[in-house]
């Protein structure tokens, strides 16, 4: 019944719009462009936020990173001794829970020596599985704060030494669950042997999750391997340190001071050399955050502008039609009828805009996919955008419609 009544109302609305073709077309166009731009922008925001809020799965709030350079002219044995002494020192700094040495750190970015290829057979012709790795020792799991879901941790006697100019052939490795499932989809990874470029290694443990040094890809970032080795790079070493409390400043200062007491062997920039994991995250995702923020602000402005435009034009229409409204009122239309008329009219116009806008949104998405490596926009994004615009339109027309409903019937017979 109510539906039939609403449908009966549509004919005069369409007829009335026919006499304001340009104004109607302008609102339709505006709604269409808004839907196309806002749904793409908000889709970008959503993908960026999903991207930048991925956890590294480490205890980020308690971790800091020391990027320590070595003075030239030290051989591998000297560097090994330095690292052992430094780790001993760091682990005894007040407030430090644990520490280990590596060649990279989560979100640290690309370097030549963070990538490995793992093969399932020694004579495998195809490229091995691309993974990233961290040089580790028996303290790595506790320092990172990651959880071992199967198998065991490294034993101190398993820790080898390697470097940019020497082979890395550990007897055992620990991998993440995602990598284990990728290599052995039947779930039998624990205890299996895989082949590093320089030799075989047994998988002795599986971590629930751990992000590698990269942040670009959803998959590769999670294919992380812990290799039990002290990485003796004459250029430098990375120390990862986990603190007891989140108040890291005093611990960082104490760690720096302790390291500088043996300063002759190292080059350590007191400002850039030590960063907390929170700072690492902030700079790694700076661009994503910036894109998300900009797109949100612009989408917000866009929706406000469209709402403002609808309010403006609707008020104008109401003022133009005072006389007709008066006539309808004197012929028995209730204030509710007048309100309903303007809301229905707005719904109709916005719907036209949404139909056109959904088309534009997908066209825009297709071209953005080429330029910005965006994924295809799922259908629910423009659907949500459409709901938002319908709601926005109804809200925007509410004020003018209420003003129209207040027009007294007597206007019909009054000349202004």
């Amino acid at each position: 019944m109510a539906l039939g009544k609403a449908f009966m109302q549509l004919r005069p609305i369409v007829a009335a719009l026919g006499r304001h073709k340009v104004a109607t077309a302008l609102i339709v166009l505006q709604v269409a462009l808004t839907l196309a731009v806002a749904s793409n922008a908000l889709f970008i925001v959503a993908t960026r936020i999903v991207h930048l809020s991925r956890p590294t799965s480490t205890d980020e709030a308690h971790l800091f990173v020391v990027r320590n350079g070595w003075k030239l002219g030290q051989n591998a044995a000297q560097i090994d001794a330095n690292i052992r002494a430094d780790l001993e020192t760091l682990r005894h700094v007040a407030g430090v829970r644990d520490a280990f040495s590596s060649q990279g750190f989560p979100l640290g970015g690309f370097k030549d020596d963070i990538i490995l290829r793992l093969k399932l057979k020694p004579d495998q012709k195809a490229h091995g599985q691309l993974v990233t790795y961290f040089a580790s020792d028996e303290h790595a799991i506790d320092t990172l704060g990651v959880s071992l879901v199967a198998g065991r941790n490294f034993r101190p006697d398993e820790i080898t030494a390697s470097g940019p100019n020497s082979k890395m052939s550990p007897a055992s490795i620990i991998v993440t669950r995602s990598l284990a499932d990728q290599l052995f989809p039947d779930g039998s990874a624990l205890g299996k042997t895989v082949y590093l470029p320089d030799g075989p290694a047994a998988i002795i443990g599986i971590l629930s999750s751990l992000q590698g040094p990269l942040k670009q890809s959803e998959r590769l970032d999670r294919y992380t391997v812990l290799v039990p080795t002290h990485y003796l790079d004459p250029a430098g070493v990375v120390y990862l340190v986990r603190t007891d409390s989140t108040a890291m400043k005093p611990v960082i200062a104490a760690a720096l001071k302790a390291l500088q007491e043996r300063g002759g062997v190292r080059i350590l920039d007191p400002r850039k050399g030590i960063v907390s994991m929170a700072q690492v995250r902030e700079s790694a995702y700076a661009e994503d955050r910036s894109v998300a923020l900009l797109m949100s602000i612009l989408s917000g402005l866009l929706l406000l502008a469209t709402a403002g435009g609808i309010v403006g034009l609707s008020s104008f229409w109401v003022s133009q039609r005072r006389k007709q409204i008066g006539i309808r009122r004197s012929l028995g239309a209730t204030t509710g009828d007048i309100l309903g008329y303007f809301h229905a009219e707005n719904f109709l116009i916005v719907s036209g805009g949404i139909a056109l806008g959904a088309l534009l949104a997908f066209v825009a998405n297709l071209s953005l996919m080429h330029v910005y490596e965006l994924p295809r926009m799922p259908l629910y994004v423009p659907v949500l955008g459409a709901l938002l615009l319908w709601a926005l339109g109804q809200l925007a027309v509410w004020g003018p419609a209420r003003y129209a409903a207040k027009v007294p019937p007597v206007v019909a017979i009054r000349t202004e």
Binding site: Q30, I267, E287, L298, S315, S319
Partner: protein
């Protein structure tokens, strides 16, 4: 006439305050969003060597073939073999080979601790090709390149740290333990984007390094590039097998050539093709010649140095302005149509259609101007807050100047006039007799 029409515009605005305010606020936001994005966009797409960039070319030769290259494009750098071949052939008026690297720096000044500094290994023409400004001394000569000289050019910043800013030409510093004579000290030189050695590890808006030494000497010292791409793991950098690494297919050297005329460019391209054909004939390449020769602007476009945040926000704010314009057309239409009786009276009293056009376009200009002023305020606010919106290394490039402010006002006026065209035309069509009669 101007003054009278501005007064009319003012009066009509006073009568429909809400509508006027809406138009001006919309214009202000639309224009300022565009201008803030533009301020960032122009900073990130500026030409680092105006007037010269179209004569500087980057040659690339595919030395890894279709099974290792990415989507058929040669790697972004050259192998040592190919770089040296181009260097020896000397087919361009000026040419340089370079790669970014880093050194441990020590001086005789005991109060300055040893530090790690970045820079580039370059050849003599580097300084003249890229117009590097010298504070003291100069670059080195082709002869120094040939002699593998231990000469260095350092930045003013490093000169400040090591020598207190004094003329240090002739002084010595130790790079990785090797003594170098300082041949020149640069003035501030920080091209944006850092075009000459941009790569995996060198981001386009990083500061440039502090030390330049001869390419030949750096090679003698077994200095690797901060980025190198090897087709297989086994060829990767290993200091103990330096010679094998040097003559492997690892790509790590950037070459620049200066080619003055299109004929020179064609000749150089032909030379590159010929070289690749020759390598194919010798059996080193098992694929047809795959070479590129891009000038600096094309190179920057290919390397996608413009940050995504910058181009995306330009695109979306331009769309925002377009939507604002559609909006303003509607609101102007409402504003002008409401004044049909006034137009009728003016026409009846003898105003021509042209006068009506003038009146309403001047009204549009006035509103555009006011919208522009609001836009300037919001643009300044946006530029001031750029640090919170963009990445730090991009935000610091953004600044407002008179041209940006002038452009903001002009854009606002132009946008309003364009959106007022159709409403003005409708207003001018008003039939005077009908308007007067109706009431």
């Amino acid at each position: 006439m101007w003054g009278y029409y501005v007064v009319l515009a003012w009066r009509s605005s006073a009568r429909s305050k809400a509508l006027t305010a809406l138009v001006i606020v919309l214009l202000g936001f639309g224009v300022s969003a565009c201008m803030v994005s533009y301020a960032v966009f122009r900073a990130t797409t500026s030409d680092p060597l105006p007037g010269k960039s179209s004569r500087l070319y980057v040659p690339l030769i595919d030395n890894v073939g279709p099974s290792y290259n990415y989507l058929g494009e040669p790697n972004d750098t050259l192998s040592y073999i190919d770089a040296m071949a181009l260097w020896r052939a000397h087919k361009a008026s000026r040419q340089t080979l370079l790669y970014p690297t880093q050194w441990q720096v020590e001086s005789d000044n005991p109060s300055v601790p040893a530090m790690t500094e970045t820079g580039d290994a370059v050849t003599a023409d580097f300084f003249s090709m890229f117009d590097l400004p010298f504070r003291f001394g100069s670059g080195w000569t082709a002869n120094d390149d040939a002699q593998h000289a231990t000469v260095a050019v350092i930045s003013q910043h490093l000169n400040e740290a090591l020598f207190g800013g004094k003329n240090s030409v002739g002084q010595e510093i130790r790079l990785d333990g090797q003594l170098f004579r300082i041949g020149g000290v640069l003035e501030d030189w920080n091209p944006r984007p850092r075009f000459f050695d941009v790569g995996d590890d060198v981001r386009p808006f990083d500061d440039v390094g502090d030390i330049y030494i001869p390419f030949t000497r750096a090679t003698d010292m077994k200095k690797d590039s901060t980025f190198s791409t090897c087709p297989t793991d086994s060829q990767a950098f290993d200091e103990s097998k330096w010679d094998a690494y040097l003559h492997s297919e690892c790509d790590r050297i950037v070459a620049w050539v200066e080619l003055a005329t299109p004929a020179d460019v064609d000749r150089y391209r032909e030379y590159l093709r010929h070289y690749a054909v020759e390598q194919q004939r010798l059996g080193r390449f098992s694929w047809p010649p795959n070479i590129r020769l891009r000038n600096l602007p094309d190179w920057l476009a290919y390397m996608q140095v413009t940050p995504r945040a910058s181009s995306l926000s330009m695109l979306v704010s331009a769309s925002f302005l377009l939507i604002v314009l559609v909006n303003v057309v509607g609101l102007m239409l409402a504003r002008f149509m409401r004044r049909a009786p006034e137009i009728g009276v003016r026409r009846a009293l003898g105003a021509s259609r042209a006068a009506i056009y003038r009146q309403f376009l001047i009204e549009a200009v006035t509103m555009g101007f006011v919208g522009g002023l609001l836009g300037v305020a919001l643009t300044l606010l946006g530029v001031w807050g750029a640090g919170g919106l963009f990445e730090p290394d991009i935000a610091r490039l953004v600044h407002a100047d008179t041209s940006l402010i002038a452009l903001t006002v002009l854009l606002a006026i132009a946008a309003t006039v364009v959106s007022a065209l159709y409403p003005t035309w409708r207003a001018a069509q008003t039939q005077p007799a009908w308007q007067i009669k109706i009431n």
